[in-house]
């Protein structure tokens, strides 16, 4: 137990939470409180453990022996970083769930709190277990089966059985692919650690190694949501699970797939030596990532169900991470020295984007949960003008949307800047890198469109007051506090990128057998104002969120002064409708009309069905004439 106390205490808290759910079966209210407390406690222990490791401590290596099986456990810098993300997101989501599940029937609360700690336990396992054998199987099955139940209990069983089963099926398939791949290493012993697998692979034939890496790409790709595999289960699962669970699915479950890919392509690959062709696999990841980011995001703008919109956009954002991982490998394999040193910059961008996306996508799913809680509708066609009724949720949603769209002075901007500018600078003479970078930049505008639509039609605009015949109020503070917590982290990621980049750098220093170890990180410099990519003391690219904010603020003040310079007052008037103002409520621009020509133009990308199935069947269906589209 040297240096791993936090890890053990965290697991013990989760175990206690599980036991409590069995013991306290009769008392749903107490169970909800106790479960939330114990899970939160476990998150704190986990965060403490991660901070110790990231703070310069040694990586923790454990060997758990149970009977014939050895479970190798490794918590290095990279695991610690993802564990930190896990603990932050789980804390927010557990707190949100406490308020959100208040209206649930007692029967379901009991079941959920029995399964929830198992789910978190499984996720911790996936980030710490260092094999592809028994330990991995245990962690994966805990994660998969428990989240299957969580998805299934997210909605009415009539609606949830199919997506939940699909989800479980693909998770099991992914497990078979990943676990099976290891047998391609000559002399593989079930339970070998990843490093050993890599070494054994070193002596194998290139063909076997290619199949090995291919299977792992497929397996972990299924989990992260690579096109076209992600489309098979992600939209169904994320929009079916209740929003606090979806926040975890999109925030961290998906990232464990990314973590797996990093472990394979940046750690095992190093041990594998020459049989690993960095250029080939980099290109494969790059193409897969570019397709995923483009198709996922374009599909997202077609959705009217906001939970589905968030789900498809998760696919798109993970595409960015895969794109960067691939781009990093290609840059590493290139002959020129500047490109090689940029590989680390792009890689840091990928990790930073994983952290950022985890936080703002969770915040968005919690916003979705708040919308569902307050309005009972998941249809953007029926919402509008909620900023007046739900100001705090509205402002938080604006911030999260702003961040994910990567607008200036946001966390999304900095991570996308690292990935894309690194990619372009490394790919000056590589067509594939340059073209995929252009697609990534092009897709950023789609992401903006997606979230302009989400925020604009839910919170600004008008309509919810007329279309939903109920009074809409701001959600209780138990649902606001976790969102504010995530917002603060999101802001720190936006304005303190130097710190996060340093943290990621440190985590990589503490990581063993890292493929990019030793390649120069001097290319990326952080100072008080922001980040710079430099070469021979010349600045190649620079991003400074703080400066951008100050610039915009100063100019907004100028604009404000100009606006008031004439001394004009303000009058409140109804929206003008050619003299028929009293008909405003029959003339609301609904979501299905947004970007209709563009949707038609990109019909070939699929996912064109934007029907919304509401939970509450009493909400009346749209009449046929309401379905026509205005261009």
């Amino acid at each position: 137990m040297t240096g791993a106390e936090g890890f053990w205490l965290s697991l013990i808290s989760l175990g206690l939470s599980f036991l409590m759910a069995i013991v306290l079966r009769k008392k749903a209210g107490l169970l909800r409180t106790g479960g939330t407390l114990l899970v939160s406690l476990s998150c704190l222990f986990l965060a403490w453990q991660s901070v110790i490791i990231l703070g310069g401590g040694q990586p923790v290596e454990l060997e758990i022996k149970t009977g014939v099986f050895h479970l190798p456990v490794l918590i290095d810098g990279l695991s610690a970083l993802f564990l930190l993300l896990l603990s932050v997101l789980t804390l927010a989501s557990a707190m949100f769930a406490y308020g959100y599940f208040e209206r649930m029937p007692a029967e379901r609360i009991r079941k959920i709190y029995l399964v929830f700690p198992v789910f978190i336990f499984g996720l911790i396992g996936l980030l710490t277990v260092d094999d592809l054998g028994p330990g991995f199987a245990l962690a994966w099955q805990m994660m998969a089966v428990s989240s299957y139940f969580l998805v299934r209990w997210g909605r009415d069983e009539k609606l949830s059985t199919r997506p939940a089963l699909t989800y479980l099926g693909f998770m099991e398939l992914a497990w078979l692919l990943v676990a099976g791949s290891a047998f391609l290493a000559p002399g593989y012993h079930f339970g070998d650690s990843l490093a050993v697998i890599g070494e054994k692979l070193n002596g194998s034939s290139p063909a076997a190694a290619a199949v090995f890496f291919g299977l792992l790409l497929l397996g972990f790709g299924l989990k992260t949501g690579v096109f076209p595999l992600g489309q098979l289960w992600i939209p169904g699962a994320y929009s079916t699970a209740s929003p606090p669970v979806s926040a975890l699915l999109a925030g961290i479950l998906e990232k464990t797939g990314v973590f797996g890919l990093i472990r394979v392509f940046f750690f095992v690959a190093r041990e594998a030596g020459t049989v690993f062709e960095a250029r080939l696999w980099g290109r494969a990841l790059l193409v897969a990532g570019t397709l995923t980011l483009f198709i996922g995001t374009v599909q997202a703008i077609k959705q009217s169900d906001y939970l589905k919109l968030l789900a498809y956009s998760s696919i798109g954002q993970v595409g960015y991470i895969l794109f960067a991982l691939g781009s990093s490998l290609v840059a590493l394999a290139s002959d020129s020295m500047p490109a090689r040193s940029l590989a680390t910059v792009i890689f840091i961008g990928a990790i930073y984007h994983s952290l950022n996306h985890g936080v703002f996508k969770s915040l968005l799913f919690l916003t979705g949960g708040s919308l569902l809680y307050a309005t009972g509708s998941r249809d953007l066609n029926r919402l509008g003008g909620l900023l007046a009724a739900m100001p705090v949720t509205g402002i938080l949603a604006a911030l999260a949307s702003y961040s994910i769209a990567g607008m200036p002075a946001s966390s999304g901007f900095t991570s996308k800047w690292l990935m894309i500018s690194g990619n372009f600078l490394a790919g000056r003479s590589d067509l594939l890198l340059t073209f995929s970078g252009i697609v990534a930049l092009f897709t950023a505008a789609f992401t903006l469109a997606c979230y302009v639509k989400f925020f604009g039609l839910a919170f600004t605009s008008a309509g919810a007051g007329w279309k939903l015949k109920k009074e809409i109020r701001e959600v209780p503070s138990s649902l606001l506090v976790p969102k504010v917590f995530l917002m603060l982290i999101c802001l720190s990621q936006a304005f303190w990128p130097q710190f996060y980049v340093k943290l990621i750098n440190r985590s990589l220093l503490a990581a063993q057998d890292f493929l990019l170890a030793g390649s120069a990180v001097e290319a990326l410099q952080g100072d008080r104002s922001g980040l710079k990519i430099v070469k021979n003391s010349g600045v190649l690219a620079a991003a400074s969120p703080l400066l951008m904010l100050l610039l915009i603020l100063a100019l907004v003040l100028l604009a404000r002064w100009l606006r008031q310079a004439g001394g004009s007052g303000q009058v409140r008037v109804p929206a003008w409708l050619c003299g028929y103002q009293e008909l405003n409520q029959d003339n609301v621009y609904a979501d299905r009309n947004m970007f209709s020509d563009l949707k038609k133009f990109f019909r070939w990308t699929g996912a064109n069905d934007n029907r919304v199935v509401e939970d509450d069947e009493s909400i009346d269906r749209a009449s046929p004439e309401e379905k026509e589209v205005i261009t």
């Binding site: 469109a449 600004t460 606006r563 261009t631």
Partner: protein, 299 residues
């Protein structure tokens, strides 16, 4: 000098931008056999609007914030521009991604205002504006990226130097694409689809009046001037005379001439439908992509 460059740029754009609208109105009127307003009319319009009452159709802050953001972000773009071939003091903490995203931010502000107003016409306009941003901003981005590919740096001054270096196939192809896209960049006919005055009544700006509208109008003028500037100081930059004052004068005359050409095209072409325009933009995008490909290959 490096600090002063920022203010000189801001003043240059703030003072000259309305004149360009005057030029466009005058030329358009002459083509339509009208007398047209005097060249300084847009300045008077702005002053008049600033003194009028603000009508607020939405009742929440997003509606009032949008014009401020639109104006501020387009000025932020201007503040980043290199002056006289050299970089200013903001250049050490910004690059061309910053510029592209500030430009997107100004478009986003228009959308925010349009959707916040709750007017269906404005929403139609917002939807069209966003589609235009999606399809057109990449062409601008690729122009700058070609510069970055050729110069090997993301810093704005060097990337613009890369844009300006003539003599290769990629330069001429990108120049052609930019010229054909210019009409759409400045959203004049046949590409004024988001505003489409006679069809959706100025679309996104419909609910705005008084000082708020003045800010949007001013921001739009500055944005148009930015694209003209990019052609004059970017693509044609290497042909400008070496003397600072002289080159600045030539550049200003070039921008005015560009807007004369834009007005002539605008006054003689009817508006496209959105779906037609999308196809047009897609072709532009593919051509720009080919140009970048040429740039990567060093052709």
């Amino acid at each position: 000098m490096k600090v002063a460059a920022v203010f000189i740029n801001l003043l240059y754009f703030l003072l000259l931008a309305p004149l360009l609208e005057g030029v466009m109105r005058k030329i358009t009127a002459r083509i339509q056999s009208r007398q047209g307003p005097p060249l300084y009319q847009p300045y008077l319009d702005l002053i008049k609007l600033l003194g009028k009452e603000n009508l607020n159709a939405a009742g929440h802050r997003a509606f009032r914030l949008a014009p401020l953001l639109a104006f501020a972000s387009i000025l932020a773009v201007v503040a980043l521009l290199p002056f006289g071939g050299g970089s200013n003091f903001l250049a050490h903490s910004s690059d061309l991604m910053t510029l592209i995203y500030f430009l997107t931010l100004s478009g986003f502000a228009v959308l925010l205002g349009a959707l916040a107003s709750g007017n269906p016409f404005a929403s139609v306009g917002a939807s069209r504006e966003m589609m235009t941003i999606i399809m057109l901003e990449p062409v601008l981005a690729m122009t700058l990226i070609l510069g970055a590919v050729r110069s090997g740096s993301f810093s704005l001054a060097e990337a613009l130097g890369g844009v300006a270096a003539p003599g290769e196939l990629s330069y001429f192809l990108m120049l052609a694409v930019f010229l054909v896209a210019l009409q759409a960049f400045v959203s004049r006919q046949p590409f004024d689809i988001p505003e489409a005055e006679v069809e959706i009544l100025e679309g996104p700006y419909m609910e705005y009046s008084g000082p708020d509208y003045a800010l949007f109008r001013y921001a739009l003028n500055i944005k148009r001037m930015f694209y003209g500037w990019l052609l004059a100081a970017g693509f044609l930059g290497s042909w400008l005379p070496g003397n600072l004052i002289l080159s600045w004068l030539v550049q200003t005359i070039l921008i005015l001439l560009i807007f004369v050409a834009i007005s002539v095209v605008g006054a003689t072409h009817p508006r496209y439908r959105m779906d037609q325009a999308l196809k047009y933009y897609a072709v532009l995008m593919i051509l720009a992509l080919i140009a970048v490909g040429f740039g990567v290959k060093g052709w």
